[in-house]
């Protein structure tokens, strides 16, 4: 039952005006530009693009500004905006092997072809607040450059697969399911699971990945390889009929190497957990890879005992835009619902009181 509620318009419009004012902050300070956010908060931009499931650095930066830095709200804004745009088609699958690498590390091999390239990383920093950053206009040293070594940078998983120690991925021409077109259904195929995880909430993925390490469906992972860099996106316009380059996007890829005790048809070998995300997001890609591997439990004949291995639990709760929508909808008027609950409770309490009086009388 709905009861028309009117009378909030003036309050709402005043609330919005105040919201704008609080976004701007102290007017004596210069206003933050979208370009500044895009350039100087690149990791926030990357996260919003990943969770908003839409690669556009400027739009993500604008969303961050509009959302006053609330990254889930910003991802929501980006997701909403994408629904206003037509879909031209789908890209060719990214060739991450041909990535223009900024960072590439492996925790399984010290010396490997292509080497360990640290790139612009926070690893090995001391996590001490740098007060020099509080001073404006301080000069930063330019990053050094060195001769680029020749030679290929092969995948670690490929090195293992060549020895027969790494399970090969199933590679067919199957058309993957698309969550933007069809709702999630179970059992969910791996491509759909990967799409779901790729846009999942980083905190949720991190906590689930962490839970697998702490024994909830442990899969004993090693970081086979993390790659951060740029890949070319190719697309075949229907009117041309051949693939053209749309440009480059930044991505992060993580290949987790996990034990697998083998099955009746397969010898003991390593298996993969895979993480891929827009921008520079190592924590995100690693967490995704851990959860991807945990979700493969059933197909690898492992017992499903932990939350991270439970398809419905993981895939239904990973999306922070759906989650925030359902949690925050509790703020909306539930006056009628609540009146009925109240009525119910009063009736029960009255009945109990009557019974108690009767018992006392007897």
């Amino acid at each position: 039952m709905y009861v028309a509620v009117k009378g909030g318009e003036r309050a709402i419009s005043a609330a919005h005006a105040w919201l704008d004012e609080t976004r701007r902050g102290d007017p004596a300070l210069p206003e933050l530009t979208v370009a500044q956010i895009e350039q100087q908060m690149p990791l926030a931009v990357d996260r919003v693009m990943a969770e908003g499931s839409c690669h556009d650095r400027f739009l993500a930066a604008l969303a961050i500004k509009q959302a006053k830095g609330d990254l889930i709200e910003a991802a929501f804004l980006l997701r909403a905006y994408r629904t206003t745009l037509p879909r031209f088609g789908v890209s060719e699958p990214l060739e991450t092997n041909a990535m223009r690498i900024r960072r590439r590390i492996s925790a399984t091999y010290k010396d490997l072809p292509g080497g360990q390239v640290l790139g612009p990383t926070y690893d090995y920093t001391h996590r001490l607040l740098d007060f020099a950053l509080a001073a404006e206009g301080s000069d930063r040293a330019e990053a050094p450059q060195a001769e680029v070594p020749a030679g290929a940078v092969p995948r670690v998983t490929e090195l293992l697969a060549r020895e027969g120690l790494m399970q090969r991925e199933e590679a067919t021409d199957a058309e993957p399911g698309d969550l933007t077109r069809e709702p999630l259904a179970f059992p969910a195929a791996r491509p759909v699971r990967l799409q779901n995880l790729a846009r999942g909430d980083e905190g949720f993925l991190l906590a689930l990945g962490y839970s697998t390490q702490r024994g909830y469906g442990g899969n004993h992972p090693f970081v086979g390889e993390i790659r951060v860099g740029h890949v070319t996106v190719e697309f075949t316009p229907p009117e041309l009929g051949f693939p053209i380059e749309l440009g480059e996007i930044g991505i992060t890829e993580c290949q987790m190497v996990n034990q697998f005790k083998g099955s009746r048809t397969e010898p003991p070998q390593f298996t993969r957990g895979y993480g891929l995300t827009f921008g520079h997001g190592e924590r995100r890609a690693m967490s995704m890879a851990l959860v991807d591997r945990a979700l493969r439990a059933t197909e690898l004949g492992e017992d499903v005992t932990a939350p991270a291995q439970d398809h419905e639990f993981v895939l239904y709760h990973s999306d922070n835009i759906e989650a925030t929508g359902f949690v925050e909808h509790l703020k909306l008027p539930h006056y009628v619902d609540f009146q009925s609950e109240l009525e119910n409770l009063r009736t029960i309490r009255a009945a109990l009181a009557r019974e108690a009086m009767q018992e006392a009388a007897e």
């Binding site: 839409c54 640290l118 480059e248 891929l276 827009f278």
Partner: protein, 133 residues
Amino acid sequence: MAVLARASGEEIAALMPELPAHERLRAPETGLVMVRGRAGGDGNAFNLGEMTVTRCAVRLGETVGHAYVAGRDKRQAELAAVLDAALQDPARRDALMAAVIAPLATRQTASRDADARRAAATKVEFLAMQTTR
């Protein structure tokens, strides 16, 4: 087209002050392309997420030019479509390649090289450990 896809509309326009007269077959329009990855890097394809793309189609004399470029720069898409058509004309091709494409390509290569050189400087040389022992 790969070079034009990586250049901004402003950059292209600066190298091509006189835009040849053309007819818009499809005005610049922004939409989305679903970007795909592969499970494990080399397995079955999956949908990673979308990216904004702007397309444009023009007619230049008898020739049709098409452009699809990452992002929402409509000027870039239109200039790329015009150049796509113009570059199919053998009479204009060499001049345009030299005046527009080559300088953009040089700039892009320089930026990519600088990135690769910065990455190379962060490559770990484990041998250094042994020499200090």
